[in-house]
């Protein structure tokens, strides 16, 4: 008996966003990266279009981070030099560079806005891939650093973050003036996610320049909560909710490498196996889960995990 495949028909789709700008477009990137445009749930190729594969951004830092030595050893020669680090990340297969300006944090170096802007320029000069730039996470400082970065990188069509419900105006204004895109972060909360997009849009920022960060939890640390939020975001987008129809970014590396399972030495938990392999798998499995939940931009750290995930993306995109 022939089986009839049941197909859902949706009235709308996820918006697309293009990051970076080539010389012709007013920037200096060798190419741009486009994500989004899905007209169905993740990877249901038989039902709708999945025009752009998810992409991997490799995270780099403008100071030597307190990362696990098994992770840091892959960047041994380049930590401390963001430009060289970015090049290394591209060698490891990064589609995008995710630059965290941690050194702006008053407690971690208190780098000046000018210095941060200069770092961004150096990274732009070192690689051809588009850039994602976020601040240190200290709102007051980021509100002077990020406008300086936005101005210095005008024309490069960066993705910049982080905007939150209680601190979005300064960054939105900077991104509008200098024509960058913005990350809107909500705390695993669909209502705040939508509200923040509305607030940013009310400042006249076009909806197709916003990327949703739903807040992710690592495998074993609340991955399922974000999974269901992302499912609702996607269904909302497909059913025509313009305020939820944005591509989604997931900060996997940071969360996966916070997990005990990624860091605990084998001597503490003999049954868990080698820490090096375990940490790579923890990051890769967390990332794969979020790719299947509808993540468009996946931020990662470990080159081996990146390799696994890029291979997984290739398999998921095969029709």
């Amino acid at each position: 008996m022939p089986v009839e495949i049941v197909k859902e028909r949706y009235s709308s789709k996820v918006g697309t966003i293009t990051l970076g700008a080539t010389k012709e477009q007013g920037g200096t990137r060798t190419h741009t990266v486009t994500v989004g445009g899905d007209s169905t749930l993740p990877f249901l190729h038989f039902e709708g279009e999945v025009p752009n594969p998810p992409v991997v951004a490799i995270e780099i830092c403008d100071r030597v981070p307190e990362w696990n030595p098994s992770l840091l050893e892959h960047y041994r020669d380049v930590v401390g030099d963001p430009a060289a680090w970015a090049q290394k990340a591209v060698e490891y297969g990064a589609d995008l560079i995710f630059l965290r300006l941690s050194s702006a944090d008053p407690e971690l170096g208190d780098s000046s806005p000018e210095k941060c802007a200069d770092t961004v320029k150096k990274v732009l000069g070192a690689v051809g891939v588009p850039l994602i730039v976020v601040g240190s996470g200290v709102d007051d400082k980021d509100n002077i650093v990020l406008p300086a970065v936005a101005e210095a990188a005008a024309g490069e069509n960066l993705l910049m973050g982080i905007a939150e419900q209680d601190n979005y105006k300064t960054l939105t204004a900077a991104c509008m003036v200098h024509k960058h895109n913005i990350i809107a972060l909500s705390p695993i909360d669909i209502n705040i996610c939508k509200q923040l997009n509305i607030l940013i849009n009310e400042m006249n920022m076009p909806l197709d320049r916003i990327v949703i960060d739903p807040s992710v939890g690592a495998l074993g640390y609340g991955i399922e909560y974000t999974y269901s939020i992302m499912e609702r975001i996607r269904l909302g987008a497909l059913q025509g909710d313009r305020m939820l129809a944005m591509p989604v970014i997931c900060g996997i590396g940071y969360e996966a490498w916070r997990a005990k399972e990624a860091n605990a030495p084998v001597s503490d938990f003999p049954g868990w196996g080698d820490q090096k392999d375990r940490s790579i798998l923890w990051e890769a499995v967390t990332a794969s889960g979020f790719i299947q939940a509808g993540g468009h931009i996946i931020i990662m750290r470990h080159p081996e995990a990146v390799k696994l995930v890029k291979n997984n993306i290739k398999q998921l995109m095969a029709k």
Binding site: N191, I192, L199, G236, R242, M243, L244
Partner: protein, 266 residues
């Protein structure tokens, strides 16, 4: 909720005068105002303005389309006027309306099919409007069967249970609600449902209150569309809130504002 803006109707003095003097101004103004307020269709009704229903409908369609971004709803008891209007519509319109009367069905349904128009099917036969839901649903079934026979997709059929003024025909209101609920079980996919909302508050004291209460109750029964005053902001606010309570839209603190602005973002 599909909102059909009701304001371009010869029953209103400004539109009547506009039709009589061929003054495009009021028609343009109301077309723009209603679509900015979120109307998904613009109802066009010549009303008692003139005896020349066909000529006036042609003028209304052409005039409205000079500014309209949304499709039209051709509202006339004259089949000639509807047929004349159908030929001119740039987007597939909604035909308002066709009763469960085989002679009229046989004329309107094929004409609608030809241009992909949708049809409002009235739960009314030559014998009149049934008193109860059961008989209304039976008439709806006749319309559904005809749509199927004429090859009209169910999503293009809007069943109208006929809202009557609550001040003179109060006993009909619960029957209307029940009809809206039951129509959804007639076929799969089911036809849509629509009401002429303002009819419920005819000659009553606080019309907007009755309109918005009736509409939210109808929405709870599954109503898809209403011919209504799109410029009544309280009514649209009620629709926005009912959509939240029905879990059709995801809540955000600014949900009302987003809903009220939806026409401008089209």
């Amino acid at each position: 909720m599909i909102v059909v803006g009701e304001r371009i109707n010869g029953m209103f003095k400004d539109i009547r005068k506009a039709i009589q003097t061929l003054d495009k101004g009021p028609v343009h103004d109301w077309a723009i105002k209603q679509q900015e307020a979120g109307a998904d269709y613009l109802d066009l009704n010549v009303g008692p303005a003139t005896e020349d229903k066909v000529g006036a409908m042609i003028w209304l369609v052409e005039t409205a389309q000079e500014v309209a971004k949304v499709p039209l709803c051709l509202d006339s008891a004259s089949l000639d006027a509807i047929e004349a209007g159908l030929k001119l519509c740039k987007r597939p319109p909604l035909i308002n309306s066709c009763p469960a009367d085989q002679a009229k069905i046989d004329r309107i349904f094929p004409a609608a099919k030809e241009v992909g128009a949708s049809i409002i099917g009235l739960c009314m036969s030559p014998a009149g409007i049934p008193k109860n839901a059961e008989n209304r649903v039976a008439l709806a079934m006749e319309l559904v069967a005809n749509a199927d026979a004429y090859g009209i997709p169910m999503e293009n059929l809007f069943i109208d249970p006929l809202v009557l003024p609550v001040n003179v025909a109060q006993e009909h209101a619960p029957e209307v609600l029940e009809t809206v609920r039951q129509v959804k079980f007639l076929s799969d996919p089911a036809p849509k449902t629509i009401v002429g909302l303002s009819n419920g508050s005819q000659k009553a004291l606080d019309r907007p209150l009755i309109d918005r209460t009736y509409l939210s109750m109808l929405m709870a029964c599954g109503l898809d569309a209403a011919i209504a005053n799109a410029c009544d902001e309280d009514l649209m606010t009620t629709v926005a809130t009912a959509r939240i309570i029905l879990n059709k839209d995801i809540y955000a603190d600014s949900y009302v504002k987003v809903y009220l602005n939806r026409g401008r973002n089209k």
